[in-house]
Amino acid sequence: MLTAALSSAASCRGAKSLGIGALQQQQTSGGRVLVSRRGLAIITALLALGFGAAIVLGALEYDVGWDERGPEPGYFPFWMGLVVIAGAAGALIEAIFARDQTAQAAITLDQARRIGLFLLPMLGFLVLTVALKLGLYVGMIAYLFTVMLWQGNYRLPATAAVSFGTAAFFFVMFEHWLKVALMKGPLEAWLGMH
């Protein structure tokens, strides 16, 4: 029973790579290569390595050994950090020595540009909402406005309708229906909405 399942797990791996292959054919269609698959695998493994190191360092603030009552507070995170480091090191070696993925593109310039265009307004939204403390409603309207006008090439009336309509929908749904207060800023206070 177990061996049957294990062998079919192997076949599942085959089917999965088939699916990924099909997706890749669509992806590599345009643009120059920004990062190869191998490069991205190495970068990700290094990031994971850094994460593991940060956990180990954080855990070392407490004793990581044992006392008479069993493991001390730092013990568990310390070893979990080491697990991450070990896994990341293994993934790094796998990435460096992998033979088949060196030439393929993980991200083309075109794709990177599209991802950037997607993330940049989101970052702007977070700066407005959280860093400048303007609240979710203001951030939301500004975000939807920017994205639809600038990237979606929509006209002003449609843009305004969608962005204000969404904010109004969230307001009614959360503040009135569900009695959950969303983050508000100075504008709402000035308008007397609480």
């Binding site: 990700t44 979990m80 950090g81 993934a91 970052l123 909402t129």
Partner: protein, 506 residues
């Protein structure tokens, strides 16, 4: 048979007007979430959890579970009509489902998908009904070392059977456990891994992580490809459905095999995605029409769908009986249970009878409701995908951020969503599995407590885990599974090198 009486009691709980309405609402929301790329079942359940805080736990779980079934159905719809899997677990459905749709057999493909999915789901629920009580009785014998052994086994299963690189699985699980340790330590009260940031004292919520990993991460991945939904129009007529029902019994072997694979992968935490791929692979290997797979073979739709749904439903069994969720979505639901103040595990069957059996009974009803709803709302939901992605994507982004805010009204969480989004994207790109991370975040504290309590009970000796046959065999099995990739690669190398060419690097 206590089961029958308990189940009947469960039906009394599930079949009230309020709960039926919740099922319909849950299924519809689930289909929507499943259809929209970037919003999947784990994410959808996560977004709903903060809204269930004021609800009765039975009603809350019925809503969440129904959403899950709806999402599984919705994911298959887009796979077939648009060649875009709405859920990772419905990727395998695109292989034959979309070719069928392009040949003008969209209705047939959809009906096959939904009906075999319903078969798989009901198969899973029957398995749960039969196994729930024995599993809970078995789990009654558990104390801390056994619990830790089972948690350990769950993660060893990911490494040994998950299909991803074992190193990447380790990274994912280790990250999840580390993130779970952030904040106040439950045993000593010390503040761990906060790096002096007051925002980290309350810990990192798995809900926020799921919203980022599955929501934003998925959207970034979708954005990367220039997305155009070029779908096939479909309207499901009752006659076509009846024709499919008549044709379905001919595929009984595939149905039963796929459901069994699904149950196996759902109970061991392989999850629905692995189950659907495995089942597709098995069907292609053993079918007499294996050369037609990939070109629009109904069996290629039936196999992954039945497995996907039976894995989805049966993943609820280990969650209820042992407190170990069998899939990422079940992990999120279990997190919900803990937030509502319930303790997943064998005691649930004693203390919360109507909760457990109400849920199980609702699974029968909700899956039937889901099939009927999905069959007749397909054109409606397919129309949603014709709204330009330039409007849908930013709206989904907003839903994700608002959802993250409702978790604990913390502005810091909004930054975390973006960070987890980038992590989710990198994980997806580099084939790191995400489910172990989510699972580890949900059960992290419980696993650590179980470990530390076993150590306290046995004076700090690791022999605690081999102190009786039950615990010892669980631990030994777990270690074998953990080492399985190593054993398998040694074995494979020997087989591969003898007949064929010698590898260059040896």
């Amino acid at each position: 048979m206590h089961n029958i009486a308990d189940l009947l009691h469960g039906f009394q709980v599930a079949l009230t007007g309020y709960h039926l309405a919740l099922m319909v609402a849950g299924v519809l929301f689930g289909i929507l979430v499943g259809v929209l790329p970037g919003l999947g079942a784990p994410n959808g359940v996560t977004l709903l959890i903060p809204l269930t805080f004021s609800m009765d736990p039975v009603s809350a779980i019925i809503l969440l579970a129904s959403m899950y079934w709806g999402a599984l159905f919705g994911g298959s719809t887009t796979s077939i009509l648009f060649n875009i899997p709405g859920e990772p677990s419905s990727v395998a459905t695109t292989f034959d489902g979309h070719p069928m749709a392009k040949q003008g057999r969209a209705t047939e493909a959809l009906s096959y998908a939904f009906l075999s999915a319903a078969f798989g789901a009901l198969f899973g629920v029957v398995v749960i009904t039969l196994l729930a009580v024995p599993a809970a009785k078995f789990a009654h014998k558990f104390s801390s070392p056994e619990y830790f052994a089972v948690y350990f086994l769950a993660f060893a299963c990911f490494v040994g059977l998950g299909g991803a690189s074992p190193f990447k699985t380790l990274v994912s699980a280790g990250m999840g456990f580390s993130l779970a340790a952030v904040g106040m330590d439950t045993i000593s009260g010390s503040l761990r891994l906060t790096y002096g940031l007051p925002d980290l004292v309350k810990g990192v919520s798995f809900l926020v992580a799921v919203i980022g990993l599955f929501g934003i991460g998925e959207l970034i991945a979708t954005m990367e490809e220039r997305l155009e939904f070029r779908g096939v129009h479909a309207r499901v007529s009752p006659r076509d459905v009846l024709k499919t029902i008549a044709a379905l019994p001919a595929y009984w072997v595939a149905l039963i095999r796929s459901s069994l694979v699904g149950c196996w992968m759902g109970i061991t935490p392989g999850g629905p995605t692995a189950a659907s791929f495995m089942s597709y692979g098995l069907a292609r290997r053993f079918s007499p029409r294996s050369d037609r797979f990939g070109k629009g073979e109904p069996e290629g739709v039936i196999a992954p769908e039945a497995a996907d749904h039976s894995a989805g439903t049966s993943a609820m069994l280990p969650m209820l009986a042992l407190g170990i969720p069998g899939s990422a979505t079940a992990a999120v639901m279990m997190g919900g249970l803990m937030i509502w103040g319930l303790h997943p595990g064998p005691m649930l069957f004693v203390e919360q009878k109507s909760f457990v059996w109400g849920l199980i009974a609702s699974m029968y009803v909700a899956n039937v409701v889901a099939v009927l709803l999905v069959l007749f709302t397909v054109p409606l939901f397919a129309a949603i995908l014709r709204i330009p992605f330039a409007i849908i994507a930013p709206l989904i982004v907003m839903v994700c951020f608002v959802g993250a805010w409702t978790v604990s009204s913390s502005p810091f969480d909004l930054w975390l969503v973006l960070a987890f989004g980038v992590i989710g994207y990198l994980f997806k790109k580099c084939d790191y599995p995400i489910a172990p991370l989510v699972l580890a975040m949900v059960i992290g504290d419980k696993a650590e407590d179980a470990f530390r309590q076993s150590m306290i009970m046995h004076a700090g000796s690791l022999g605690a885990f081999w102190s009786n046959w039950l615990c010892g065999s669980l631990m030994t099995l777990a270690i074998l599974l953990l080492l399985w990739p190593l054993i398998a690669s040694l074995f494979r190398r020997r087989v591969a090198t003898t007949p064929a060419e010698m590898p260059v690097r040896e």
